[in-house]
Symmetry: C2
Subunit: 133 residues, 2 copies
Amino acid sequence: MTAGNYIHKSRYMESENIVPALAALAQSTRLDVFRLLVRHEPEGLAAGEIARSLAIPQNTMSSHLSVLSRAGLVSARRFGRSIVYRADLACLRAVVLFMLRDCCEGRPEICAPLIEDLTPCCSPKPKKRKAYV
Amino acid sequence: MTAGNYIHKSRYMESENIVPALAALAQSTRLDVFRLLVRHEPEGLAAGEIARSLAIPQNTMSSHLSVLSRAGLVSARRFGRSIVYRADLACLRAVVLFMLRDCCEGRPEICAPLIEDLTPCCSPKPKKRKAYV
DNA sequence: ACTATATTTCTAGTTATATCGAAATAATAG
DNA sequence: CTATTATTTCGATATAACTAGAAATATAGT
């Protein structure tokens, strides 16, 4: 309803959702947290370990984690006394996709170099493919 | 020197530079401005036109443009009385690449779905393709 | 030099964010 | 039930961001 030309697909992120996600990452401690959690996928990391790992007081870290969580970039699940946080990689992909969708509109040549940079480390499904191409 | 494991390459963006870039985009007016400028590549758009186009006072817009500019996301060039702003797509790519580098480290399967989503609209050199698949 | 136009800088009020001590909540063990 | 551990919420302060009116700067035309 809100100025909608886009067909809503769940993996796409809309403007209203992207700003909190970018804001959540636009803070050095939170960016470090998110990167740490990405490196610890898929096991995740308890709140206390995150705080200790980055040398930030637990309550401060808790507030950062809640920002990341509200933005959808991390998820939290309780295990006993601990609350284990995990990076939400689908959300990361949605953010990236949102940013690239704009520059791709009608001009693929803009994103092509990016895909080329990315392909060496991230070529799709190297094992189940019959062959490449 | 600052905790450096990465080999510095110019197209890669470091932590210190990415936070201002994300912060610049983490504001709805500025995100709109950037998207507008991407759509107007490569001609660019004068500051006044940007302000008028988004119905924001010129001085307010000027301050937003300077944030985007400091972050390296836009460039400015004077033409007569006007100052024409352009989106810096290399910077956008560097931001995206930074975010993806982390999730690709050692696990290509994370970014592969993203590349697959991107490929239909942005496959490298689309004209030289024989046909679509 | 004067006027009109385009944009920025100055300034100030308002709002939001970051940080962290202290208190509160939640789960486990004895 | 009490003690211990893990985490969050509350509250207060400090810093930064957003907004926009008013003044300043820069360019072009007359």
